[in-house]
């Protein structure tokens, strides 16, 4: 069974469980769908301002991430793209002095509502980080840890296996599940971190430069994986690598100095951007 089949099977199972998820029909993207995609987007921010003390890293951004699509966020270093991404699963809570203002919504949930536990937010919205960060535990425990803590009702070994298969790592590690995860290569570690997130069955996957520390082969593994995953997940990826954004994403957001300069279908951003700054950046004239 290929990972794609596997993924489809799981997606059917989830539908049967009546899991609340996007009602929008799967579709190949074409320019007419943009309006529709944006209208149906479930992860949205309005007037997002993020500041560290006196410095504003994000200066009032309105953005919506279309469901079941991959949205790339690009821009020069320090433009606030990672900060913006981390705001969507409240990882900025741990940065001293970080303050998030504006409205950040997922479905009908205000992510920064006083009554919302950030833990709840992160159960729905998973995240993969720039540097692979496997726990210093076995491969198996890396994946099983969070589901067990969350009272997983199914068979945990099966969950570990499916998660690893979906992250296209199973074949490489199936014979050493109980070895330390720190013995894996960088690319394998990153796929393990993705598998770890998938095991919690989030609805949105945020990826913060997931390939920046990896070699080209591992990078292409992970890009393939993203394309498979978008059937079930809304994926947002922050990347420095413009080829990567062009290869995998449906939509691209270009940010500069804390502002959202342009948001459009990826093909438009890369071939026919409306803003001069975007064109300069994607053609490599600055950044």
């Amino acid at each position: 069974m290929t990972p794609v089949d596997e993924a489809k099977k799981i997606s059917e199972k989830e539908l049967m469980n009546k899991r609340p998820k996007s009602t929008k029909p799967e579709s190949n993207i074409s320019s007419g769908d943009k309006e529709n995609d944006l209208r149906n987007a479930e992860l949205k921010g309005e007037g997002v301002v993020i500041s560290y003390g006196a410095d504003q890293a994000v200066k009032g951004v309105d953005i919506a991430f279309p469901s079941n699509k991959i949205t790339a966020v690009i821009g020069p270093s320090g433009c606030g793209k990672s900060t913006l991404l981390r705001a969507f699963n409240r990882m900025n809570d741990f940065i001293l002095g970080a303050k998030v203002e504006g409205s950040l919504m997922y479905k009908d949930m205000d992510l920064y509502d006083k009554n919302i536990d950030p833990v709840e937010v992160r159960l729905r919205i998973g995240m993969v980080f720039q540097k692979p960060n496997p726990f210093p535990k076995t491969i198996f425990k890396n994946i099983a840890w969070a589901p067990q803590m969350n009272g997983y009702t199914g068979d945990i070994a099966e969950l570990v296996e499916t998660s690893l298969k979906r992250a296209a790592l199973w074949n490489e590690v199936s014979d050493r599940l109980h070895d330390s995860a720190l013995g894996l290569s960088g690319g394998q570690q990153q796929r393990l971190c993705i598998a770890r997130s998938l095991a919690m069955k989030p609805e949105v996957l945020l990826m913060d430069e997931p390939c920046s520390a990896l070699d080209p082969v591992s990078t292409s593994h992970i890009e393939d994986l993203m394309l498979e995953l978008k059937e079930q997940y809304t994926i947002v990826i922050v990347t420095h690598n413009m080829q990567q954004a062009a290869r995998v994403s449906d939509y691209t957001a270009f940010m500069d100095s804390g502002n959202l300069v342009e948001f459009d279908e990826t093909s438009t951003i890369f071939t026919n951007p409306k803003e001069q700054r975007t064109e300069d950046y994607v053609s490599g004239r600055f950044g």
């Binding site: 741990f94 992160r122 960060n133």
Partner: protein
């Protein structure tokens, strides 16, 4: 003119070469002072303990259950002193290790910058208070409180000494554990949070296990500190060597015995006098082993992250 300059330079070079050599040797000798200290300790302990072991066999010393060194009939089984020491150490450990670790977890994982800036100096002050002050505090501050619960408790008892020894080692445990927890990369915590875990779950199940060797090393060091602690136990725990596990009794530790012999009017050269060195040697060996162990654990743990 040029010749003169060159000559002065040459002269200077010669002189400075001498200075250079002298300084190098001088400070090398200073650095050797610490090595000489170690040899001095070993030499003194060995030399003065030999007369003791001529009369008392090593087996009788290590496994004898009666310590009666100063009055007849003499008996030199070190177990009561060792047990008294252990009673203090275990009592202090039971209090200081959990409290120290909990403080470290709080400081490194939960506390705001402001709280850290209050608690850390307090820990430093506690660490800087002389041990004789703790001894006084145990005797006049803690024992009366214990006695208010149960008047049967003697003035000199192991429990109040344990409590102050706990207070003394607490700052060390807390600050070393804090260092170990802080050395865990933030990315590991982020990974835990992103999977939907609470702060407590991340602290207990990811950060603490990742810092375990540093935490264990701090525990071993605390153990060594508590064994060598002298004034508090001398003042508060009493002077009666006893095989007991009851912390409410009066006991004597190895260190308290050493003080008793050195400050009492024991005839210099008698076997009782030489027993001081046997006990001191045992104390030195135990703490040395503990220190080397924690050094090894720490070295391993540094390798994990570098």
């Amino acid at each position: 003119m040029t010749e003169v300059v060159a000559a002065t330079f040459r002269q200077k070079t010669k002189k400075s070469k001498l200075v250079e050599k002298g300084v190098r040797w001088g400070i090398f000798l200073c650095a050797l002072a610490s090595v000489l200290t170690t040899f001095g300790i070993i030499f003194v302990l060995a030399k003065e303990a030999i007369p003791f072991f001529r009369e008392v066999s090593l087996v009788d010393f290590l496994f004898g259950t009666k310590w009666n060194a100063l009055i007849l009939p003499r008996s030199f089984g070190v177990l009561p002193l060792l047990m008294g020491t252990m009673l203090i150490v275990i009592g202090a450990g039971l209090i200081a290790l959990p409290v120290g670790l909990a403080s470290a977890i709080y400081l490194s994982e939960f506390a705001s910058q402001r709280v850290r800036k209050t608690v850390k100096p307090v820990l430093e002050i506690l660490a800087g208070i002389p041990t004789v002050v703790y001894g006084y505090f145990a005797l006049t501050g803690i024992t009366p409180i214990l006695k208010s619960f149960n008047d049967e408790i003697p003035v000199f008892n192991a429990l109040s000494a344990s409590i102050v020894v706990a207070v003394m080692i607490l700052p060390m445990v807390a600050s070393l554990c804090d260092d170990a927890l802080k050395a865990v990369p933030r990315s590991l915590r982020d990974g835990g949070y992103a999977l939907g875990s609470t702060k407590t779950e991340v602290s207990l199940k990811i950060v603490v296990p990742a810092a375990l060797s540093g935490i264990v090393a701090s525990f071993v060091l605390a153990f060594s500190r508590a064994i060598g602690e002298t004034m508090a136990v001398t003042l508060a725990a009493g002077g009666t060597p006893k095989m007991t596990l009851n912390p409410l009794e009066s006991i004597q530790t190895m260190t308290a015995y050493i003080v008793q012999v050195a400050t009492g009017d024991i005839e210099h050269g008698s076997i009782s006098y030489h027993s001081l060195y046997a006990v001191g040697g045992l104390l030195f060996l135990i703490t040395l082993a503990a220190n080397l162990l924690s050094y090894k654990i720490l070295k391993k743990y540094r390798e994990e992250y570098e």
